[in-house]
């Protein structure tokens, strides 16, 4: 049986409906192209409000919009399997995000005389990206206040919600320390009855994500079609073109065709699909002339710490509002921005957190340690009351050895191999020192025992560049070899930046869509 959507030769097929695919598909549909979205997860119910979870059964995970299988991580040679914070449903991982859409700093993209870039700079620099950042900011209805340290225009920002008493007190304390806090840039409309869906699906079209700002407006144009529960298994094609997309829907395999194929399965899923598309024409996998498909995998490093507001600060709930970029670059080292996580930790929460940290640490096997975390946490809670949790988001650098692993025997499994380089260890220690120095005089506690990779921020596995030998994609994010294959997710990023990736993914997706609509073929 053939699928109804396989009868059409589409203008574009978009594989994956996260922030990249959703945004690109919307722009294409709004430009009048006929777009087919293929989404591995289900359509779900709009009223759902669940967050990420460790529920084990694959079908239960898919129903919740979660990636069905665990991620297999070989970290410094040690194997672990766990459920990464990855979505599989309309909106992808973005329906679970905290909607922090931060604009990169110039040094994140450009090679500057006093701030050399680790890759020599992105092939499309800050000035060329600026207009796309602005457009994405409008599309995602970004709110916040300008970063006082940035010499660049802040772009179109809607007024942020007024800071809470805790935010105001913390920001005043930070300024006393010579820091430059601002109100973080968030894509939450804060309509009446806003549920503040940080980490959970938003039932109200209030949080702007790949679904509410991407797929739904795309479908509203009448030019787009969404097929869910369609697991794309491989790309088909000849030397320089993709001629078909093969997907399993239920028990059947279907083939869809289009003039353009936009790959947006995420920085783990997209390279895995290309590696799964080995054929006579593509013996190393699709678009893999460089041999770099899946390589240069990066995550951010989370440096999480609790910060207690000064005594007498009224307790007005968790803060998700504060961000600062004082520590992005220090003495030539690339660190990253610091932001509130939107978590207010009480005694029990810190116990839980420390327990999790301990479970992942080298002393995980030592019995009887876990209850001990209650003692410092109890002391802290007694002394200080509620803490606000902050995270320093440290930039990861690309290494070809850190990569997505593909196993033809288990083609749908997501697996990565990642080594923590001595350079990263050293930089993390320096970052911790910088945090401790920046927040000196404030009551604080680091909540991490070792380097903690942010598995929700993978990037870099299909890097873009000018040289086909050194990159998978050209500067338009089109495959160097397959001239109708484009990539619109975080895979394209040659460096991971010191800020959250979402705004950059959305902005680049708009840029890619624009290039597609202007392509004469």
């Amino acid at each position: 049986m053939s699928h109804a959507a396989s009868a059409t030769h589409w203008d574009a097929i978009v594989i994956g409906t996260g922030i990249g695919g959703g945004t690109a598909g919307r722009a294409l549909a709004e430009a009048g192209m006929r777009v087919l979205f293929l989404e591995m997860g289900g359509a779900g119910h709009r009223a759902e409000r669940n967050g990420l979870s460790d529920t084990p059964l694959p079908e239960a995970r898919l129903v919740r919009g979660l990636w069905p299988e665990p991620l297999e991580v070989t970290l410094d040679g040690r194997q672990r399997r766990f459920h990464a914070p990855l979505g599989a449903g309309v909106g992808g991982s973005s329906v679970f995000y905290a909607a922090t859409l931060e604009r990169p700093s110039r040094h994140d993209l450009d090679d500057l005389p006093d701030q050399p870039h680790p890759t020599g700079g992105w092939p499309v620099g800050y000035d060329a990206m600026r207009d796309w950042f602005d457009r994405a900011a409008v599309l995602y209805r970004l709110r916040g206040s300008p970063d006082p340290l940035s010499p660049e225009p802040a772009g179109p920002l809607l007024p942020p919600p007024p800071p809470s008493a805790v935010d105001t007190a913390l920001m005043a304390a930070f300024r006393t320390n010579g820091l430059h806090p601002y109100l973080a840039h968030t894509a939450i409309e804060r309509i009446g009855g806003c549920l503040n869906c940080l980490g959970t699906k938003c039932p109200n079209r209030c949080k702007m994500d790949g679904r509410s700002a991407g797929v739904e407006p795309a479908l509203a144009t009448g030019n787009a079609t969404l097929v869910t529960r369609a697991r794309v298994t491989r790309l088909l094609g000849a030397a320089d073109r993709v001629t078909g997309v093969e997907a399993r829907i239920g028990d059947e395999t279907h083939r869809f065709t289009a003039r353009h194929v936009v790959l947006a399965g995420g920085a783990l899923g997209s390279p895995n699909l290309l590696l799964a598309s080995v054929s006579e024409h593509w013996p190393e996998g699709a678009a893999n002339g460089s041999g770099l498909v899946g390589r240069n995998l990066m995550f951010h490093l989370n440096e999480i710490f609790a910060l207690w507001p000064h005594r007498g600060t009224p307790d007005s709930g968790p803060s998700k509002a504060i961000a600062l970029r004082d520590l992005c670059l220090r003495d030539g080292a690339r660190f990253g921005m610091v932001q509130a996580m939107g978590i207010r930790a009480s005694y029990g929460e810190i116990v839980h957190y420390l327990g999790l940290m301990l479970a992942r640490s080298r002393v995980a096997g030592v019995p009887g340690l876990r209850p001990l975390t209650r003692i410092p946490a109890a002391v802290a809670a007694r002394l200080f009351g509620h803490a606000q949790i902050f995270v320093g988001l440290m930039e990861d650098l690309p290494y070809p050895g850190n990569r997505v692993l593909h196993d033809p025997a288990r083609p749908e499994r997501l697996a990565v191999s990642y080594d923590i380089h001595p350079e990263l260890q050293a930089r993390r220690k320096a970052f911790r020192r910088a945090i401790a120095h920046a927040f000196r005089g404030q009551r604080r506690m680091f909540l991490g025992l070792g380097p903690e990779l942010n598995f929700g921020h993978p990037s870099g596995t299909l890097r873009f560049g000018h040289d086909p030998a050194q990159s998978v994609l050209d500067p338009d994010c089109r495959s160097h070899q397959l001239r109708n294959l484009w990539v619109a997710d975080a895979s394209f990023m040659p460096s991971s930046m010191g800020v959250n990736p979402s705004l950059t993914i959305a902005a680049n997706a708009l840029r890619v869509a624009d290039a597609i609509t202007k392509d004469p073929a």
């Binding site: 119910h45 669940n50 039932p203």
Partner: protein
């Protein structure tokens, strides 16, 4: 929305032709709700309706018939509006020794006491999942804990219905926290199914309706007996942890 109001939608009470079901339907009607009373006996339902003619609408339906329930719920949605509250109350309690049961007679009880809850809940969830709000209250019993002689089919089917409550919550609790689901044990009542010197069903119904109208997500999974919450048993570890964390759980009350 922490409390259901008549403008949120209609209430459905199964087994509304007698005893507790009738008392629940009439109490809800008194508070201004449009109530669809479901039962198998038309004359009994009409007697319930006669006491609140503007608000109670009888619906003759066998809750063990999945297709009939599906169709009937679709129709009443068109006629009366969306479903905000479902009280699964209908049950049968045949006092029958196991040597007098057949496989068929046993499964007949299961079809009503468990199947009825499954069928009606499933049909009502269509509306509730659309809006993300709703209330399902299952009238329950501790009969499963130590079955009495001649109560095998009742104990098994009502016990399974309690498991179904927990399974519903496992499937829906995290995705739809605004759909509040729980069990309520009304106590020993002076009804056909109960005991002669039991509690007046009208008294129990006041508690049941109070519990049914509370739309607090924190009530999902809670079990109430009469007007008081039954706390889940805590093991030694749990009690020590409560002590360490300075947590002492107190049962919630309805009155």
């Amino acid at each position: 929305m922490t409390r259901l109001a008549p403008q949120d939608g209609i209430a459905i009470v199964t087994g509304a032709g007698s005893g507790l079901g009738r008392a629940l339907a009439l109490d809800l009607a008194r508070r201004g709700f449009t109530v669809v009373g479901i039962g198998r006996r038309r004359d009994a339902l009409e007697e319930t309706q006669a006491r609140a003619p503007d608000r109670v609408f009888p619906l003759v339906l066998d809750v063990s018939d999945a297709a009939a329930v599906r169709d009937a719920f679709a129709t009443l949605r068109q006629r009366h509006g969306r479903i905000a509250l479902l009280i699964n109350n209908a049950a049968i309690y045949p006092h029958r020794d196991i040597l007098d049961e057949t496989g068929e007679s046993f499964m007949e009880s299961v079809a009503i006491n468990l199947g009825g809850v499954v069928n009606c809940s499933r049909a009502a969830l269509g509306d509730m999942c659309e809006t993300g709000h709703g209330r399902i209250l299952n009238v329950s019993t501790f009969a499963d804990l130590s079955p009495l002689p001649t109560a095998s089919a009742y104990s098994v089917s009502k016990g399974a219905a309690r498991i179904f409550t927990r399974a519903l919550i496992a499937d829906l609790g995290d995705r739809f926290p605004g759909i509040v689901i729980g069990d309520w044990m009304p106590g020993m009542l002076r009804t056909d199914m109960g005991i002669p010197d039991g509690l007046a069903p009208e008294q129990a119904a006041r508690w049941g309706v109070e519990l049914a109208l509370r739309l607090d997500p924190a009530l999902t999974g809670a079990v109430f007996e009469c007007d008081t919450e039954v706390l889940p048993p805590r093991g030694l570890k749990g009690r020590i942890r409560d002590m360490l964390l300075l947590r002492r759980r107190r049962p919630r009350r309805l009155s």
